[in-house]
Subunit: 308 residues, 2 copies
């Protein structure tokens, strides 16, 4: 296979954090990026983000010479593009119109990928003349560091074509067999967060301690191995079959005991003050820098242990 | 403070995987370990596990010269112990009797910590003459690598005394404000697993892809930062307050949409065959070795980013 499916030019539509992060990744791989965003002042923020993200990507040896150009008109940004990564706000009606417009502008061979986390593919491609080349490709923040890309496509061949492209970008694509609100990973995150909120609401532990329990316990393990495989190892010599037969009933009892908290004003206030305590005065920018530093070191460490 | 609270000798009662892992950690820190386990053939398995785990701990510069002795009688193992780590099977009646026996054997100053994951402290200390020095200190597998220790104690001073000891062992203790079945981390894991099972049961993705989505997405981030702090960063400049006010309702809708699967024979069969595919013929021992390798590299990488 030709690397990057032979693509040379990628259009990034919508250049907030997600779009800017994609732009950094594409250019670091040597792909030319033509960007468009109608928001005023977007150019400076995009340039600053890409410069910073590119310095992070250098730590992985990614130092390609793709160009980055911000265009005033969307049709100029997509002219000659082989691939479009769309990162507009999560407004279903607006996104439906935007994707139809992109579909009309682009030549037959180009793929159009929406980064949407909240919307269903079936709901946003309805106005496209060629919906079969419009996919969902949902990344995790920040996309230039976190490898996951969740793909929803009309058919297996299109999904695989997109997956091959993302794999060449060092991403880990996962293809959904059918669409689902929240895809996979945000559903898992949301399920966990409900109990994380419950434990604070019930006064079992502080926000900081719930966070520490996750990232020094199961979260740490989940960076190495997923939940199903973790329980396979938890079953001892009999593996997952033994686990499900012998500990499945206790897992089901635990499920029944999980909380279903309301995000009341009191609960929200407890979470906000808990975060204040956990942050210890550090700004969001400082916390992001720390998260990125940690992710970079973890990702570097994973090179040795091979693909999850 | 004196390091390790001044303790010199630790008794490890129950030497399966958890107990053996604790024994490796204690001896690597230079503490003498007196072990007891009634199971036949336990000595060889204990020695083999400790040798292997100690070689892993050397990678962190932990190469203490604590002795390890397996005793035939429990009273010999606990004689002169400053601290007991109990890791017997999760049988409430048996554990209640065992803890009472340990309490009767040990001098006043000694702490007794149960590794129980499934049982409540209040249910297992009822026959102890001095229940206030009997705590729950629940580790995560394998305890010599994963830092989390969840502590449930009768009072804050005892909890803090135990926490100080575990901190000196390089662990990250979290003290529960009140006891809860499954403590904190297993409740979070269980909440996530319910949706991981649901996604397989609903045919959204394979077992391997659900696992890959977690450990290349939110699981990776959770090795760096807990779920509350993650949403603090997800709120942009407004942080968690903005997140809860603006995206809280969509989080609550997502919660309402999560699955509640039954572990039916069909679902269990789908999980078992999915694990077969994901394992690609690798034995449990090979998978454990890979998990440990990955954990070691991640933990080493975290040295630079400072304490979670």
């Amino acid at each position: 296979m030709t690397k990057y499916n032979g693509y040379r030019r990628v259009a990034v539509i919508g250049c907030g954090t997600v779009g800017a992060s994609w732009a950094a990744l594409f250019t670091a791989h040597g792909l030319d990026v033509a960007a468009f965003d109608p928001a005023p002042g977007r150019g400076e923020r995009l340039a600053a983000f890409v410069t910073h993200a590119r310095s992070q990507l250098k730590e992985f040896g990614l130092d390609g010479e793709g160009s980055l150009t911000l265009h005033e008109r969307m049709e100029d940004a997509v002219a000659g593009a082989d691939f479009v990564q769309e990162n507009a706000p999560e407004d279903e009606v607006a996104k439906r119109g935007l994707l139809a417009e992109l579909d009309a502008l682009l030549p037959e061979h180009a793929l159009i990928a929406s980064s949407t986390s909240a919307l269903l593919r079936s709901a946003i491609v309805t106005e496209c003349a060629r919906p079969e080349r419009v996919i969902v490709a949902h990344p995790f923040n920040p996309p230039h560091l976190v490898p996951l890309v969740e793909i929803v496509a009309a058919d297996a061949a299109t999904a695989e074509r997109a997956a091959a492209f993302y794999r060449d970008l060092g991403r880990r694509p996962v293809i959904l067999r059918r669409e689902m609100p929240g895809h996979i990973a945000n559903r898992l995150a949301s399920a966990l967060y409900r109990e994380a909120v419950n434990l604070v609401a019930e006064g079992v532990a502080s926000v900081a301690d719930v966070d520490a329990a996750l990232c020094n316990g199961p979260g740490l393990r989940w960076a190495a191995m997923g939940p199903h495989m973790t329980y396979h190892l938890g079953g001892g010599a009999g593996g997952i079959r033994h686990y499900l037969d012998h500990l499945g009933p206790s897992q089901a009892r635990r499920w029944a005991s999980l909380g279903n908290p309301a995000l009341s004003e009191a609960v929200k206030a407890a979470i906000v003050s808990g975060i204040d305590a956990e942050a210890e005065g550090r700004s969001i920018a400082e916390l992001e820098a720390r998260r990125d530093r940690s992710l970079i070191e973890i990702l570097k460490s994973r090179v040795e242990v091979a693909g999850q």
